[in-house]
Amino acid sequence: MDLFGAQINLIHERKDAMSTSVPRRDELDSNDVTGKRSSTPEGFLALLRLHENNLYKAAWALCDRADSIEHLVERTVLSLWYERSRSSLDQPFRRCLAGKLIDAARITRVSLSASFDADTAEAREARELSSELSARVHHAMQTLTWDCREIFVLRDLMGFTAVECAEVLRITHVQAKQLLSDARLGMAKKLSTPVSSAAIGGGL
């Protein structure tokens, strides 16, 4: 059994033993208010804390460089805050956050060389923490088209339904399902074949 299969087994075993210590989707949704709570800095930050980890994971999946992940997260959150400070959000907080993430990732996708950030200690630590498994998964995602990568992030990392994914990406439901199918098939095929260490060296 290769490393990928062994890790999958470990995760399933851990899942059985793990208590539910992270917010479930329904709990997150119940905190997705578009009203007054998100309009104050304290309320906004409190809502954000519920989604921070998923947001980081999604940004990781959409970035090709470790030192751009936190930059992408900051830009996403700031853009949502600026919008929220101008007007009410017209959708749940979580969905607005996802939309801003996709928009920010598209804009910054080819502009990472213009970033003022140097290789920070945090970025180096992030790379050190990444396991070979996550590097394999990230390498597989880099082989997807951008459309497929975005929908894979929205559906399988962030937990949106296919209908919600279509709304965030401004495509039809049919297109969303097709892209998701392509993404999952692509990921499954890529991760079923052994990858050399040199090949995953460029991943996160």
Partner: protein, 279 residues
Amino acid sequence: MKDMLCKDAKLLLSDYLDQSLDRATTEDVRAHLKSCKDCRVMLDGMKNVVGLVQDQGFLSPPAGFSERLQSKLGSVGLAVKDAHEIQIGISEGTVPLGSHLIYFWQSNAEFEAGVRFLYPGLGGDEHCIIFGHDEALEHVQEVMRSNGYDPEHLISERKITILRRHAPAQQTIGEIGAAIEKALADGARLVRFLGNLGIGLAPLPAGEEDVLELETNATALMQSLPCVIVCMYDIRTVPGRLLFKGVLETHSLSVCSNGIKPNPFYSPVHEHSGSHHVN
């Protein structure tokens, strides 16, 4: 129940995994999976991948991530919530943050009036970015000097940034975004961006289509930052097609000596953005 081919079954595996197929199709897929090892392996592969990335323990943010994010938001972003509108400077009136305006000019006096957009932001807690081709950048600075401002001093004080137009749209947008974010990180409350995108002595870095892409992406960028852009266009030199597609359709507001007006030719961002890239 009908026999299903592998090529058809594979297309349905994702929906089968999500349990979003109708009953009959689900049964067809299930029957196919019973007899087809390849498709079973593919389905298991999909399940493994989805299960892996959904697992909370799969990838954790690095130590200190939450603290850094909260600190950054507290010191930079959340303080801007009260700055909703700014003086436009070119004429009477204010515009909300996130606005992207056109300003047409054809005489020196009109050019100088356009530069007035920067003045309310100088000397305070705002930052100004001046963007364009070399002749325009020099012309803007000359106008500022003739009105008592010292551009070199303001640059050294990090009150203004000069950005040359030298690259295609995607790189330029990155440079603009980085300059704005640096200004905000340095403590600016908001950013005024004055762009000169008309034809200079040098050709456009990547053609007229590139200008359309730049303007479209600039609108999307501005909507997410505490910034206002005014794009100055010399109508004596801008080709008609660029004028309509790259200018009139990408700016929601126009400004002139008479004031600020909605642009009736504006077409919203998502109708422009070529969002579906193929690797």
